[in-house]
């Protein structure tokens, strides 16, 4: 009974925190876009391409877009609508921002889902082989890959893959969203740093798990090293890595922004780059809130599932940590 009440409070508090995160993301992105020089009207009238900017036309546009109203008024009106899921109309295209977001969602989901699977496979294989490798030099080599992987710029990986597998070997298209082939190189591009990140986490976790006393007991019972690592240590080492899912998702999403540009793919990344360049506040806000929502939900799910997977973690302790 007492447990159930605590559980309920815990969930309520976590959801409350999530709402605050969403509001903060919305407000901060609004302020940042406002503080940057230039607004949608100036950019629209300027055309961005050496064309004239007529102050009268800009003023007219500004009033049409509601940009001449006081900041607080713009903010409150936009926030009020956002609460109902209405992020307003894109200043650049005149279409509802939520429509643009929904249209861009499927290609990015396909890309990040594929990249996620690749990252996990890549990360686990790398961490385990670094841990299991017999030769010291090989262990050292494999252990040095994750720090390298997380530090290479994504666009550079993308261009290297393009150069090798599209321009030279001509195995995959260099651009577009058509078919599975167009997904391969972009997904690998994102999976290299994300997989390296997973490998780093797992390796660290594996090392500390292997140092624990119970491992010695398992070894003493005559289990093979392979069995010790795969059957016992890995399972326990993997659990702490779960908490980093939020960071991983962040990596996947920010990887998508760069990758979609390098590979000329449609998706949320391209949408947000274009929107930021055009100071298209409604679209940027819709994307920011969406991304924040993904983080909040992912972390909430992890926090709720975590105690169920690992019985040793009591609710009280989790709640304490979360607070």
């Amino acid at each position: 009974m007492r447990d159930e009440i605590m559980w309920g409070r815990y969930i309520a508090r976590r959801i409350g925190q999530g709402v605050i995160v969403l509001w903060a993301a919305y407000t901060i992105s609004f302020l940042i876009l406002y503080l940057l020089p230039g607004d949608a009207a100036t950019l629209f009238a300027g055309g961005g391409d050496q064309e004239a900017v007529d102050p009268e036309l800009v003023a007219q546009l500004r009033s049409e877009l509601g940009l001449d109203r006081p900041l607080w008024e713009q903010y409150l009106v936009a926030l009020g609508k956002a609460l109902t899921g209405d992020f307003g109309v894109s200043t650049q295209t005149g279409r509802p921002a939520s429509d643009l977001l929904l249209e861009s969602l499927p290609p990015t989901l396909a890309l990040t889902a594929f990249a996620f699977v690749l990252s996990v496979v890549f990360g686990i294989v790398l961490a385990l082989s670094a841990s299991l490798a017999r030769a010291q030099w090989l262990r050292n080599l494999l252990s040095s890959l994750p720090p390298l992987g997380v530090s290479i710029p994504v666009f550079w990986i993308g261009l290297l893959l393009l150069q090798a597998f599209s321009f030279r070997l001509r195995l995959f298209p260099s651009m577009g969203n058509e078919g599975f082939e167009s997904l391969v190189l972009p997904a690998i591009t994102i999976a290299i740093p994300s997989g390296a990140f997973i490998a780093q986490l797992l390796s660290r976790s594996l090392r500390s798990t292997l140092a624990q006393p119970y491992v010695e007991i398992v070894r003493a019972k005559g289990a093979s090293e392979r069995r010790v690592q795969l059957g016992h240590a890995f399972r326990n080492a993997a659990i702490p890595s779960l908490t980093m899912v939020g960071v991983l998702i962040g990596g996947l999403l920010s990887g998508a922004v760069v990758t979609e540009t390098v590979f000329s793919r449609l998706g949320i990344g391209r949408l947000v780059v274009t929107a930021v360049n055009n100071r298209d506040v409604p679209v940027v806000q819709a994307v920011v809130v969406f991304a924040a929502l993904v983080f909040v939900v992912a972390n909430l799910v992890v926090d709720l599932v975590y105690p169920l997977i690992d019985r040793r973690i009591t609710l009280a302790r989790t709640a304490f940590v979360a607070a």
């Binding site: 391409d49 298209p173 274009t274």
Partner: protein, 538 residues
Amino acid sequence: MSFTRPRTAALAAIGVVALTLTACATGAGDPAPTASAEAEPVTGGNLTFAISVDSQCIDPQQVGNNDAIAIARQTVASLTIQDPETGEILPWLASDFEVNDDATSFTFTLQDGPAYADGEPIDAASVKTNFEAIQALGAKATLGSSYLADLESIDVVDDQTVTINFSEPNAQFLQATSTFTLGLLSPATAAVSQADRCLGNFVGSGPFSVQSYTPNEGAVLERREGYEWGPSTAGHTGEAYLDTITYKVVPESGNRTGSLQSGQIDATTGIATADAVLFEGDDFWSLNRANPGSVYNLYANQSTEKLADENVRLAIQKGIDREQITATLLGPDDLPAVSPLASSTPYFTDLSDVLEYDPEAAADLLEESGWTEGDDGIREKDGEKLSFHVTYWQSPKEVLELVQQQLRQIGVDLQLTFASIADVTAANADGTYDFSYGNLTRADPDVLRTVFSVDGTNNATKRTEPAEIDELLDEQAAIIDPAERQKVVDEAAELLITGGYSIPIYQLSTTITAASKVQGLTFEASSRLDFYDAWIAE
């Protein structure tokens, strides 16, 4: 990263295989793409063209970005056409046109026969509908609205005759009628919402129609059947040759280069100068043309005390070595400015005799104004440094860095901030700059009025008091006779230089880079792409 590229015949053959891999390419059969320029054009095929940016709109009456224009231009025919060679305005949809003496009234007689893609005739009433729709678009039609400024009335005289009246002399309007932005759309389009028109929901009058457009991905245009009113400047009349043109948005420069090399696209204008060498040889060709209009200029904000001094502006103008800039930083086709106007602009005259690199004269001018060299080599007066600030986004960014070094030699400190287009547009709109930097594409000398006039749309020099130059700029706008207009444009251009209003640097140019199987792809008078004569050699 750099490309090392063994380009052999065998690889060229693989290129054809790669072509068939891409979903958009139609079956290309010939492994040796070496069709000669004299070959007979063939009908059919698809041309895949990469653009660098997507401005989220392809409606010809709304767009202003060169990449969007590369799409939009093909969908509309115009009242007139400008000869890219001579700059002369010739008949197109209008078989005849007349301008009154003070350039306030323009009468067009339309050809009998041409129709919009929905079958509606291209008549006088539809011209009126078009121009009124552009006015209604207001700021959403940046270029069109500025061309139609001071429009007073449009009279439909009869089905084939329309007269457009302005309240002020407006000689540029005739050239404006040749541009894509005043290209004609079916009257039904005027009722379509601005946003839907951007997405390609418009009915045009040109050789191609929109088949599809996906923002950030690209567009597909298809040949319009029954199009028989190609302009006299084109290589042929009748329908276009290509079945389709596929435009792909490829923002990454390295991707454009590699995709063109590997045959995944057929042509582009977006190859970086440094990559141009990769396309020398038989498998590719390139074509360059200066963009007409105002060249890249440093526009001095004359509302600031230091730059109100003509000596200071002239010193900076004389302290810039334009030859060194083009020779060291740019491609072989990029030329130093020799006038405020680019050499491809009608009424251009070479003013290199008054626009000289002369650092000694520059130093003398600054001494004369009391700017003496300080300990650090930067000149100062009354404790103030001769230091300026410019924010810019244009590439290559090394150009202004070299200008900075050159100006330092005459004791002028130029501080540079490389920023986003958004930041620069904002700074220019606010007038919070010492210098702004940029060019403006327009195949009419009236562009000088837009940029430099005290009442100009840009008024980039931020002057407040009209001067002699403003009289000249207004005067040329009212002259229809070419010889007379030439005289006044020359006077204005020379005064812009000698009065230190214009600090020109170099001419922007556009380069088409294409696979050798692409034929007939060329520039119209404003150095924008024209696909009407283009065809694919088998």
